[in-house]
């Protein structure tokens, strides 16, 4: 009997010791999808036959002593903006529901090469922006902790599927917080890596200069495993960094004692006030970091609204540029939430966009200066528990400044972690941010925090 919940690291150990076969593991996930996903709507498409073929190959290779590493034989899901050869990649949109790519995205090729078993394509907000929407060909994903709640977005299906144990990990994309938001609301670890670390080639774009691809998983350790497979130079992505990828998994074992943490409290205490439970949970986490031997000091940055204005104007302008022709041709084929947000993007002028880019340079310089004698920043990744899914307004992302978008503006690595639960049993979250290309430091501190706290022992009970 395969447990309902396993981390990637746990499953990899069982597979390596031949106590669990990739085929058994996949079948247990497919059974779970069949039982639970009618409630969660996390999958747009389950590719069971193809996954079984890959799992059987993985089993043969592992039995023959040809293990490819900790992702070999592990069932994962792909946000449905990652292109997959011969398999529809829709962006969760009517506009692309018949789009069948000829080739895999670069990062998908790398995941397959690492031996991952791709179970299917996961729900997203339409083109990673418009959601939760109820007027698209597929319903929005639901939060496994409470199906009346929002998953966060836009990597909504990945958040739901990983939290419910339908897959052990998955891919997301993050333009303003679309990995970290679902990680926060669904109680997961989700890292937006440094800009340029993971290729964007073959991933449907939202905003070229802010788009980051990365993993969501149950733990920071699992994120390290998946990121290891995804990261690496891709000459076809003009933003791809041509530099050596560190060993993120090995790096988890390093000491965190002496790490210098800057605590950006005003982001969630004044600029976008978090609820009492979130503030208390982050405060408790700060004490834990001190007990682990880290030093903490408060850091003040420009108000969150400055970062959000810069990021949102860039996002709207770049996204509208991508969809301009189709929006003019068939506006109402898009969902209402996406198309009306894009109508705002159409009103951004060229001067507005360039002013946002100038502001971006100032903000990048500001953060770099603030982090000169720091290793990591601590702040919130969400201001509250997951709200009811039907309470999310069409323009809600513009009403309160995002806690996550500052680090899309700067390209810094940022991870959302679970740091407790509300009295009602919903996850709470925090955010750790590193210097560009110091993803290993962020993962190491996140892993140490998870080891020092009990939050990874609690899993959702999905009610049927």
């Amino acid at each position: 009997m395969v447990p309902d919940y396993l981390t990637i690291a746990e499953a990899a150990r069982l597979i390596e010791s031949r106590e669990l076969s990739p085929v058994e593991l996949l079948d247990s996930r497919l059974d779970r999808i069949a039982r639970l996903d009618d409630r969660l709507h996390s999958f747009i498409l389950v590719t069971a036959d193809a996954a079984r073929a890959v799992a059987r190959t993985a089993e043969s290779e592992i039995m023959a002593g040809r293990s490819r590493g900790p992702l070999h034989g592990i069932p994962i899901g792909l946000k449905d903006i990652y292109e997959t050869a011969g398999v529809a990649t829709t962006g969760h949109s009517r506009v692309m529901q018949d789009h069948v790519p000829a080739a895999d995205a670069f990062s998908v090729k790398k995941l397959r090469a690492a031996g991952a078993v791709i179970v299917g394509k996961l729900a997203t907000h339409e083109f990673a922006l418009g959601g939760p929407s109820f007027d698209l060909p597929w319903p929005p994903a639901r939060n496994p902790w409470d199906v009346s709640r929002f998953t966060g977005g836009s990597s909504s299906g990945t958040g739901a599927a990983v939290a419910a144990g339908l897959v052990l990990g998955g891919t997301g994309s993050d333009t303003g917080g679309s990995i970290r938001g679902p990680a926060a609301y669904c109680g997961l670890a989700g890292i937006k890596p440094t800009y340029g670390l993971v290729s964007r080639a073959g991933i449907l774009p939202l905003a070229f200069s802010l788009d980051h691809a990365g993993p969501l998983a149950w733990t920071a350790e699992d994120c390290a495993v998946v990121l290891q497979a995804m990261a690496g130079h891709d000459p076809t992505d003009p933003a791809s960094a041509d530099r050596r990828v560190p060993d993120y998994v090995a790096g988890l074992a390093g000491d965190v004692k002496g790490l210098r943490i800057g605590w950006v409290r005003h982001f969630y205490e004044r600029d976008n006030p978090a609820d009492i439970a979130t503030g208390a949970a982050i405060g408790a986490a700060a004490l834990t970091f001190e007990e682990m031997g880290c030093s903490l000091r408060e850091v003040s940055l420009s108000p969150l609204a400055e970062w959000a204005a810069c990021g949102m104007i860039i996002m709207l302008a770049e996204a509208y540029t991508i969809h301009e022709a189709e929006l003019r041709r068939r506006f109402t084929d898009y969902g209402e939430m996406f198309r009306d947000r894009m109508a705002l993007g159409a009103l951004v002028t060229a001067a507005d966009y360039v002013q946002a880019l100038r502001r971006r340079r100032e903000l990048i310089d500001e953060l770099d200066r603030a982090m000169t004698d720091l290793d990591v920043l601590l702040t919130a990744s969400a201001a509250s528990e997951a709200p009811p899914i039907d309470s999310v307004g069409k323009f809600s992302t513009f009403e309160r400044p995002s806690l996550t978008i500052p680090f899309n503006v700067t390209g810094c690595p940022a991870i959302s972690l679970c740091c407790g639960f509300t009295d009602g049993g919903l996850p709470l979250s925090l955010q750790l941010v590193g210097k560009r290309f110091a993803d290993a430091t962020v993962l190491r501190l996140a892993h140490a925090y998870e080891q020092a706290t009990p939050w990874r022992r609690r899993r959702p009970v999905v009610t049927l």
Binding site: S209, A305, E306, A308, A309, C310, M312, I313, L316, L327, R328, F331, T332, E336, R339, D340, A343, L344, A346, L347, V348, D352, V354, Q355, A356, L357, R358, R359, R360, R361, E362, I364, K394, F395, F398, E399
Partner: protein, 60 residues
């Protein structure tokens, strides 16, 4: 932006926004305008202030 200004802009942009959605968008332009205003510092910016993205060509 008023509803009339929005209607004019949408004609220029060539976007066939349904009538039922136009008031929502017109109201949301206040949020957009507030963000845009934040991008321009009081007194303006140094004329030489570069954007974050400039093209740097490799040599050779």
């Amino acid at each position: 932006m008023t509803r009339a200004e929005l209607d004019t802009a949408l004609v220029r942009l060539g976007l066939a926004v349904p009538e039922a959605e136009r008031n929502d968008i017109a109201a949301a332009t206040q949020l957009l305008e507030a963000m845009i205003a934040r991008l321009r510092p009081p007194g303006g910016r140094n004329v030489s202030a570069e954007p974050a993205h400039v093209v740097r060509f490799s040599e050779g």
